[in-house]
């Protein structure tokens, strides 16, 4: 690893806020609004750009929480997701992230 990159990674790791593990079972009851887009294979956004919405199954829960918080803080600019997170508590985010991250991705074999 390049020293600068290692340093950057260490700084990020050290600065990362304490991450509380969510409750996947509770999360399952909170994802009904997510499923309309993220639960459908090849579902695309239509505005303002067209691309497939990301797959969430097997994603890192801490990353998912960080992404949801970034929408809430305005660090990610996408109106639909900002509306989705507007009324989410930190606990909601942690639970939803735990639900989607429950099936951890551990292999990276070629298809």
């Amino acid at each position: 690893m390049h020293p600068a990159r290692l340093l950057a990674a260490l700084v990020i790791a050290a600065a990362a806020p304490a991450f509380a593990a969510g409750d996947a079972a509770a999360g399952k009851t909170k994802v009904f609004q997510c499923q309309g887009c993220h639960g459908i294979s090849d579902w695309k956004t239509a505005f303002p750009e067209v691309y497939r919405v990301p797959k969430l199954g097997g994603q890192k829960p801490a990353y998912l929480v960080a992404a949801l918080k970034a929408y809430k803080k305005g660090e990610r600019d996408f109106a639909t997701m900002r509306a989705m997170v507007a009324d989410m508590s930190d606990k909601d985010m942690e639970d939803i992230a735990a639900y989607y991250g429950a099936q951890a991705v551990t292999t990276a074999e070629r298809k």
Partner: protein
Amino acid sequence: MMKIRVLVLALAVCAAPAAYAASGDASVGKKKSAPCAACHGAEGVSASPEFPNLAGQYADYLETSLKHYKNGKRKNPIMAEQVKNLSSKDMMDLAAFFASQRGLQIKY
């Protein structure tokens, strides 16, 4: 008459759907992916809980995300630095490479 034919042809070309998603080259992307591997894993499965898995993600989503880091629609100091010198072609190739790995899934 000729002019109309040319016009019709031009309209037909314009109406043809733009090449869908990224037309990146996964094998080229693999060669460009060394800097990504430090955080996201050599094949897109991150070793750290803080960094997202990229393996199996949709290529057009990955490409859009990289563009957003570059144009500021997504604000993240680490990624802003990483994408600074990436061309559109680089982004497409990287997206194609990580999308070609097995990993993330649709979860309903």
